[in-house]
Symmetry: D2
Subunit: 337 residues, 4 copies
């Protein structure tokens, strides 16, 4: 017996990756895929790579019907729409893993500042577990709603949190992050047009990206004190992959070996974190739920680096990791292929 | 004194390439750049690579005003719109190089069949020189309107025409063509979305691409008899470049050396055709107005290959080559950088 | 209990892909990875993407030791070396899937012509099953040695064989094939240097590639009569993926629907062949063991197209499919992730 | 009359770019191209993109012969070999622009520390003008030897120097730089193998790259006081382009407008520096000698960004700019195409 799963907003890349992972998951199966625009079409018509692997059509059911078809929902919806759906589905007894940003921030004011409108479910903000299992596993286990982290915050927080917790680094922290184009989603636009994005590297939203405050909150929760980062993302001409190169002043005398040991101790036994001695590459993580982290101490600065696949550990793989925790299954179920 | 030039529909990639070439042209300068949607904006706001090289704003003038600002117009407009503009500008005494497909076919019926509507200027079809200087130079010199060839037809026709003219090959001909993504233009869409086009190769419009009948006509004119090709294009994950690999039965006993000699004789003295012994690569032609051609005889088949940069020899470079012929300037002016 | 598997020549890309697949295979596990140059190093030091997924070191054992450590061997060795190893391992009672070209051709003379030296085990040529399960499944089941097909021959033969068998097409056939760069292996060289291969498309070995005679033999066996193709490969700037666009004269009156039906009937029930109505893309097969095929009838020509991932269905995935047949396991074991 | 130019070590990418630029230079022409390994071959055999544009063969002449064939030499040699050649050619009365790193550092001890051997011409170190015209034009004009800057140092120094000079920023500075693969040169190797570099982003030599001390010296000279940077480069899957994202604490109250004004004043009238309001992209500089710079003030940090084409403004374009200054020609000669 496998658990029926609904994917809301199932035409994008994170949904595609969820379909892929669920197709090999031992305890779960996709039973409902919603889309307002593609309702009626087979999922494979939109995601041709799934042909022969999935036999499901998009539909546009109301929340009651979704609840009758599935026990857990992954939300791949735009912000605001996602919170509306979460509220409705929780009310109907479903468990929810929200891949949007709606429950990642801690309060309505910050949300309003960065998303430009009031949060539809502001009262719940601050109470929803942040789905970074390596740091907040206990709060995720058995939860009914999980805020699945952003791609950049996952790479950045996993690289920095142990060093910050151990008091090896201090603010101000700078995160220079590089991402493949799939992070921008599946809707065509000028910056993601092939001939615009290919063969060029571009900084964008320097110091003004919504993942900045999310990282601030994640790190603050992880080390139990207010932290602040300068977040500086760049678009890289490749499909997938994030590399977060993080710079922070060392808080005391420190060697590279000390920093690596700190990471190794923090992540001992973690199935999805690989602490590496040599410098990592996003390529080594492609298609996997691994996050590769390392650190260097150079003069007075600690450089902590996290690399991952933005659609797996940075989105859908981590969402399934959270599903596994919510359901009490083996945390790696479906994720080691 | 340089000749003032207008570019109509100046926000796309062929227009960008025209701006680049004209910026270094000894006899011409861009004085008018039209755009319905971006009128008022500096050209550099849409084409940031031109910053510091051009000081012009988009405008949306009527035809009379265009004729008062420029002597020659390059039309980078959608089909039908292009013919409308050509008619109006010719009437006002301008010379016109049309980069659209509007004047490339020989008759209104074929045009209607492939473009789905009546030609606005059908009477002129069949009388307009086809702007492939290496084959039809005499008809282009001093013309007032030139139909600038498509990218695929340029590569394919230059590879095949000499062999066909010399009676070395016979039909049926197959053209398996591969193009970089810029051939699809600057308007974002799903097939040209970075994450869809990158890391994949896709056949498209097999046997049903509008450049098929254009190649038929170009080859028929070149060898003075009716020819027919099977045209089979593919999208390649790169910005620029076309490779047309053409297959035709040999018409008589033939060696590779014979085929190469035929190409060499046909193109002796041509400044923009490089007949190469080794197999060419689109990469060797990037940013240049060269078309590299070669041939092989394998069993009973002749393989003729043409490689070029679809935005230069396949579009704007050839358009300037035609401008040079129209104006009686050195044919290579502005094109050897 | 899982079956122990040896991978000989385990530092290349086909070996890496074998490690990946075996890591999730229910009945097999890699127990021996040979390399002359990297003996002693952990496999992960050469293949960092496998960190955390495999705990094995390269070794350089003699054949007796290999036979004591594993029941089946995958050979990822250069030609000639591969046949030498196959002979030695078969003698020691092992089963062998050979990913080199050594047992793909039918006789020593053809082998010598294309590989430039005598075959070390010429007597066995012509008796070894050709590991294309969709066409030759019965001969593979329970075999002790299987010749795993080349990447281009897999895509080309799967597209053409049903049409040829059904008498819908006749020679001469032209195969215009396009491949990602991983097909050239992991040894650096000028043509696979990033800045040489990127942003360019290049024909290579036109009519002179070793996969030509392999396709001739595969098609001849499949349709029980001598066939001959003109094989024309091209290098595409992407990691993985092959598209074989095949052209053949139709042998009788025929529609596209007829051709598609022929493919559909031939591959009914095949787990790894997807007959598609719309034109396929290599991208839809990435990371999978699927081969997507389609056909079009255009005038008098049939265009048959096959797309696959050259490292999976074109190499290691198919090798595991063959392993499954040799061992009597479910043919899809390990291959549906 | 054009000045004859020699290019030593003429088989690499910087030499190729020099050939391209010189082909359109009004006052200079390449008359000598040296290569130990390719002597005798036409330059076009190694650089096929130059076919039809250059008619020269590689040779391996002694220094006397080089001096008889050319007035100025561009050195594209490995370090140490470059200094040896510079000494010999200067002695014979030639002018030299050295594209290697040999004369970029200020003293023999630093050179030995970073390059692992004694400098062959250590006495000259510290006296050779550093060829960044926008900062050190006066010392370059009429010089006989110029140390052409590295690609990363050009982008980084142009972004930071004006802010540092004006006292708007203070140390410690962090430079997170991203480069296309051509920066690694034309010799194949594992990290630049297509399938290793493509679709991945990798930090490398973090805090340990030889361009670190070069940037330290360039900035120290520019602002007349000792400075120190943490230099952290990354390899990006594209042919060309460098983006240096530089972070420094602001030295006083400051807005983004202040920082932009500082850059604008510093570079007023500079033909090759474009100070841009919006965030730049490496793609906008491809094939040009432009360096696009901008700045942002975010909290207490100034982010200064420089983008350029590493083979043009980051190497050969700047080398020709230096040639123009050395010879007293228009500084932009040959560089505006």
């Amino acid at each position: 017996m496998t658990t029926p799963i609904a994917i809301l907003g199932a035409t994008g890349y994170t949904a595609l990756e969820l379909f892929r992972i669920l197709a090999r998951h031992p305890h779960a199966r996709a039973t409902c895929a919603t889309s307002r625009f593609d309702a009626g079409k087979p999922v494979c018509a939109v995601h041709p790579s799934l042909r022969g692997r999935i036999d499901l059509a998009f539909s546009n059911p109301d929340f009651g019907e979704i609840a009758s078809r599935a026990e857990v929902a992954f939300l791949c919806l735009p912000h605001a729409a996602s919170a509306e759906a979460a509220m409705a589905l929780l009310e109907r007894g479903m468990k929810v893993v929200d891949l949007s940003a709606d429950y990642r921030l801690g309060d309505g004011a910050t949300y309003r500042q960065w998303y430009g409108h009031d949060h539809p479910d502001a009262a719940r903000l601050g109470t929803v577990p942040y789905g970074l299992p390596e740091l907040f596993r206990d709060s995720i286990r058995g939860a009914t709603l999980v805020a699945n982290p952003g791609c950049y915050p996952t790479a950045s927080t996993l690289a920095l949190a142990p060093l910050l917790r151990a008091g090896l680094i201090a603010g101000p922290m700078i995160i220079d992050a590089k991402s493949g184009v799939s992070g921008a989603g599946r809707t065509p636009g000028m910056t993601t047009h092939f001939t615009e994005a290919n063969e060029g590297l571009s900084p964008y939203k320097t110091g003004a990206h919504r993942h900045g405050p999310e990282i601030d909150r994640a790190l603050s929760m992880a080390c139990q004190r207010q932290t602040h980062v300068l977040f500086s993302p760049h678009l890289v001409p490749m499909d997938r992959g994030i590399c977060a190169t993080c710079y922070a002043p060392r808080a005391r005398a420190l060697t590279t070996a000390d920093a690596l040991n700190c990471l190794r101790e923090a992540y001992a036994g973690e199935p999805f974190i690989r602490v590496v001695d040599d410098l990592p590459s996003t390529k080594h993580t492609l298609g996997t739920n691994f996050c590769d982290v390392t650190a260097r101490v150079i003069d007075d600065t600690v450089v902590a680096i996290g690399c991952l696949d933005n659609l797996v550990k940075g989105a859908s793989g981590q969402a399934v990791q959270n599903l596994n925790l919510v359901m009490g299954w083996d945390e790696t179920a479906g994720l080691m292929a």
